[in-house]
């Protein structure tokens, strides 16, 4: 046979496409475009509302960071071809477990947190095992867990403490090393110095007069960044990442070629549970209480962030960076509407419209990538 390399290099059946356009079309393009649009709009309409002051930035960063934490888990799971409707209930459940262990039972907070992680990871694995063993759609299985976990989250504290909010975790977590990993702040020294040299504003009145308005980076944001980076590397740069894509693209085909699809899916369900528990722990440590209604509808918010970020609901396609941008868009829009003073009940309408707009944009981009019609 003649050397076919030459043939490869130019094929008359391909219309030329500029390398600029080539570089542009990637799963996260929709997220990037969306982020630019959103920031441009709010800079235009809400720049004088304090949204881009240091406190404002911290404000929407925290909201976005929360979304990011659960979006990373949901994103990898969705790429692996499943999704998890029990994320919200899991958040409520995990918080309640930590509260019961540390306040009611009086365990040290770090033990309470570790035991809770063990429990939620087990539940995540159970979700996964049921899905892969029975072949049922994860929608149904995790919907069942949505109800079961929420039911227990309401039932347990009532049975034990006769209330559905358990407080006092802040006192219990005082000086606890693991508590600080979730609820603390870092770089406080730096920010106080920023405040001293006038780089950021200081409080002009109230109990904390003279202190900088932002006194550190909450661990919540650190967790979000770390999870996004790890998720991105695992997905794109490792063999396991290839398995995630394969399991979501076509589980049967992946199984035929020896990818341990069941293991991949179960691990992803566990990772989603892990992210939900990180979310819950950060929240409990920040607010010092756990309530039975925590996390309501968070599963949808995670899925929305992921989908805005360009992932395919049916699996096999997506990007963690995209999901993180989706979470950022979500957080900025939600808070931005408040800064801009838009009637707050219209937030839902905006959310729906953004979601629609984002998925349509993403579909267009994906078609350009895969060349489908």
């Amino acid at each position: 046979m003649s050397d076919p390399y030459i043939e490869t290099l130019d094929d008359e059946r391909i219309k030329s496409r500029s390398s600029f356009r080539e570089a542009l079309i990637r799963p996260e393009l929709g997220g990037i475009v969306g982020t630019i649009i959103v920031f441009a709009l709010f800079l235009l309409f809400a720049s004088d509302s304090g949204m881009f002051g240091s406190r404002g930035v911290l404000n929407w960063s925290q909201v976005s960071a929360q979304f990011m934490i659960i979006a990373v888990g949901a994103c990898l799971l969705m790429i692996a071809g499943e999704f998890d409707l029990s994320v919200g209930s899991m958040i409520g459940f995990a918080g309640m477990m930590i509260a019961i262990f540390s306040v009611t039972l009086g365990w040290p907070v770090w033990i309470a947190i570790l035991v809770t992680f063990a429990i939620t990871l087990t539940i995540g694995a159970l979700n996964g095992i049921i899905v892969v063993r029975t072949g049922l759609p994860s929608f149904i299985v995790t919907l069942a867990f949505l109800f079961i976990l929420r039911g227990f989250t309401i039932f347990f504290p009532q049975l034990i403490e006769r209330k559905t909010i358990i407080g006092g975790i802040k006192d219990a977590a005082q000086g606890d090393w693991l508590g600080a990993v979730f609820g603390g702040k870092i770089l406080t020294g730096l920010f106080i110095w920023f405040g001293d040299i006038g780089l950021i504003e200081t409080f002009s009145r109230g109990s904390r007069k003279g202190q900088p308005v932002v006194d550190g980076v909450p661990m919540l944001i650190i967790w979000a960044i770390v999870l996004v980076i790890i998720g991105h590397i695992v997905l794109t740069k490792t063999a396991f990442g290839n398995w995630i894509f394969a399991s979501g693209g076509d589980a049967q085909a992946a199984r035929y070629t020896g990818v341990p699809v069941n293991r991949v899916k179960i691990v992803m369900f566990m990772f989603t549970a892990f992210c939900a528990t990180v979310f819950a722990t950060c929240q409990v440590m920040e607010f010092g209480s756990a309530g039975a209604d925590r996390g309501l509808l968070k599963e949808f918010e995670a899925i929305i962030a992921v989908v805005i970020g360009g992932a395919l609901l049916t699996g096999g396609y997506g990007s963690v960076i995209g999901a993180a941008l989706g979470a950022l868009i979500f957080g900025v829009v939600q808070q931005g509407l408040f800064f801009a003073g838009v009637e707050s009940s219209l937030f839902r309408v905006f959310l729906g419209l953004i979601l629609l707009f984002a998925v349509i944009l993403n579909t267009y981009i994906r078609r350009m990538i895969t060349g489908e019609k």
Binding site: T8, K237, T238, N242, G249, A253, T257, G258, G316, G371
Partner: protein, 262 residues
């Protein structure tokens, strides 16, 4: 072909039931190293089902599988792959949304160590994929093209190239040529020939007598879940084989009106 060799695989009285359907009713077969064993038979004869029990996709309802003389109990395809059985399935194992090179190395990802971590070696994967596909006579636009944009034949070629590249002791091909053009078919047959000469056993399923005769050393014909026996190359004429494949039915009338063997 070395009949005096110990067989690589021995399938003994394999039966497979799906609910109330009896797909296989006790089929036995031996495959020797370095031989190309053709599996022939009508539609629905059970060929695909049979090789799937060999490659760990189905667990046989009854029967025993010996691989290199040892009884094997494949729980999943991974086990068969690890034992050295590479398979190209009739319903191709390809992920349309993934790039060709990611598909090519799916389940066998090449890794590169960076400190304590192992990373997917994309560069190596892309390069190997391009080379292997070129060897099969398919020129790709690029290794990161999505498999979903390939034609049916192009996809089949990727699947075969993959199996050959990781080709172990036994290569199973389930109707690999059915969707292929003449050139690609010739390539596949040449590849089978090459592989066989390296001492690898090949199980080749086809409906095409000519393709079978071109590369086959032995021919086993299945019919309605049972085997009609195995023939050596040279012991059987193309016409006899054709008759067997059609389940022994008389095709004279038809063939007459259409001008010879179809």
């Amino acid at each position: 072909m070395n009949p005096e060799h110990a067989p690589l695989v021995q399938m003994k009285k394999i039966a497979k039931h799906f609910g109330s359907v009896i797909a296989l009713a006790g089929v036995s077969l031996e495959v020797f190293p370095g031989e190309c064993h053709c599996l022939l038979g009508d539609n629905g004869a059970g060929k695909s089902t049979f090789i799937k029990t060999m490659s760990g996709v189905h667990k046989p309802t009854k029967g025993e599988i010996l691989f290199e003389g040892k009884p094997m109990n494949f729980e999943r395809p991974r086990d068969a792959i690890d034992a050295g059985i590479a398979t190209v399935y009739q319903d191709l194992a390809m992920i349309p949304l993934m790039s060709i090179s990611r598909n090519f190395f799916m389940g066998n990802e090449p890794t590169r160590k960076v400190g304590p971590f192992k990373f997917f070696d994309h560069e190596y994967a892309n390069q190997v994929t391009m080379e292997e596909m070129n060897k099969m006579g398919i020129s790709l636009r690029g290794p990161d093209q999505a498999v979903g944009t390939l034609s049916g034949g192009e996809r089949q070629t990727v699947a075969i190239a993959r199996a050959v590249h990781f080709g172990a002791k036994l290569l199973i091909l389930d109707e690999p040529t059915s969707a292929l053009g003449v050139r690609q078919t010739a390539n596949v047959l040449a590849t089978i020939d090459k592989v066989r000469k390296q001492g690898i056993a090949v199980v080749f399923i086809t409906h095409n007598v000519r393709h079978a005769l071109a590369v086959g050393d032995r021919f086993t014909v299945l019919n309605r879940g049972k085997t009609l026996g195995t023939a050596q190359r040279g012991q059987i004429t193309p016409d006899e084989l054709q008759d067997l494949m059609a389940g022994g039915q008389e095709l004279v009338a038809l063939e007459g009106s259409l001008g010879g063997t179809v």
